[in-house]
Amino acid sequence: MNSLKVIFDVDTWQEIFGSIAKNKTRTVITVIGVLWGIFIYITLSGAAKGLDNGFDREFEDMAMNSMFVWPQRTSVPYAGFKVGRYPRFTLANVAQLKKKIPEIQYIAPRNARGVFGGSPPASVVYKEISRTYNIYGDFPDYTKISTKKIYKGGRFINEQDQENQRKVCVIGERTQEELFDEDENPLGKYIRINNVYFQVIGVHKYLEGGGFESDGDIFIPFNTFRNLYNSGEEVDWFTIAAYDDADVVAVEKNVKDVLKKIHKVAPEDERAFGSFNIGEVFNRISGFANGMTFLSLVVGLATIFAGVIGIGNILLISVKERTKELGVRRALGATPNEVRIQILLESVFLTVIAGVVGIILGAGVLAIINLFTQDLSDFPYTNPTVPIPLVIGALTTMVLLGTLIGLIPAQRAVSIKPIDALREE
């Protein structure tokens, strides 16, 4: 009988089922070893993927290579200035930065009230309702750095709004809920912000992970903000996006160096400007996620390996116990190859069954975890999946290992002469 035919022969499998079913408890315990391995592997790498997806989601509304830069207090006396000065960014800095640093793709100056300590939020009135909300003065380019999803019908601030210093605003979902009736369309309505009427042009959908932003924020054109608060040329902070291929860490350093020069801050003063580099944080986090994936691969494979060795071990014992049976089979005409293939297939079969059950259980656990974490918006965990090629890869590895490890008991089974096997009691 040729070996390929044997594998697809119903009778071969019947023989294998027969001998596996003979000792159910042992078979189950053996299978659990490998099952545990693949289960750990699937669960861990799925969880790692979930974390990875979760981090991606946290940052989905921000350009990956963007950063914020804001002024703080100087800590080094320089150019005749004392320590503890507050340098102020100005609109003129935008052109200066763009000129000096070609890696900058977009730069959006922002002003805000109510966000950081010191400035009160805007008081907003619509009909009889009066509330306070954080308010931002923004350039249209801001949406190219930080995506703002605007509900249907509305829009974000555009160039015309900016040029004409229009009194228009984009409000948050919460602002809409609190100020307007449920069935009232806020678009086109006028609300009073610090006693000035503004027309609502859009409602933005709140996205998690936007840092200090909230679902009540109101965005107005930068120039309008300037008039409203009389802030002149001043800019609270810059939001900067570098080109995709730029090194964000280097860009961040350059931006600070240029700003230090402009604002006469000591080059060695690390505390004069604060910054938050999303690109760098993102790189670090995705590095962490990659590490998790790698770790789960190593742990999973090691556990699978241990499990497969367990199968080999049990089959060795089983072959020893079945010495006589195998002797009888050979006396009845089983060739050494037939015996070998039978033991090998037992090994592979057990491994594959264990693998498939492990994958199913792992997928089940991932689904349950997903169910529980779905509604947790502050927990970075989304859609834990294991890519199919990895699953197939794991199964192939197991079949391979199962075959290799099965070779040992298979060889052992035929190394005893049938006559000695028959004599064994």
Binding site: D11, S19, K22, V328, A331, G333, A334, T335, P336, I419
Partner: protein, 233 residues
Amino acid sequence: MIHISNLHKSYKMGDTSLHVLKGIDLQVQEGELVAIMGSSGSGKSTLLNILGMLDLADEGEYRLDDVLIKDLTETTAANYRNQFLGFVFQSFNLINYKNALENVALPLYYQGLGRKIRQQKAIEYLDKVGLKEWATHLPSELSGGEKQRVAIARALASEPKVLLADEPTGALDSKTSNEVMGLIQQINNEGKTILVVTHELDIAHMCKRIITLKDGVIVEDQKVEQVIAEVHV
């Protein structure tokens, strides 16, 4: 059917060598029922093992149905055993997790026969030994005599040229021994060549010819008046 000349076999036991068969010459014709007798250590089991191709002789010639049995690999030996020989053991050697039918069908599986034919033949031979009703029973649910009858059915199923029985009644009481020997006689009467190794004289006398081994040589070879086994069912 069986031609053996000048067969020698010795086993190495550490430094010393044990010469078990010291030149056996034996001819067995088709349809004979031969008892091989001898005390333990006389070499009768060794002879049977060599006849059964489970062991190889050191020297001498062995022809089975005009096929020279020499320099066998494990694989060809397995194929010859499967085609030419049927084994009946003292301890039955049924596979305990297979039922009677599956046990009988096992050599047919190794012959590469299809599933239906195997089932059909196995039923046929179980019927022949009177155990058709017990086809689905496991060996543990059968008595010693029934087990041996299943084993005989299994040995016959592959339609071997020679049936080799090693102490087939060694583990049975005298009543069931009679039953089993009656079955063996019946099969022999249908023309099958059978060799029975035994150390019991009454069993030997149920055969047609008795060969007595002592210290590795044949000391006596006589045709005997066959005692018909009385079967009390």
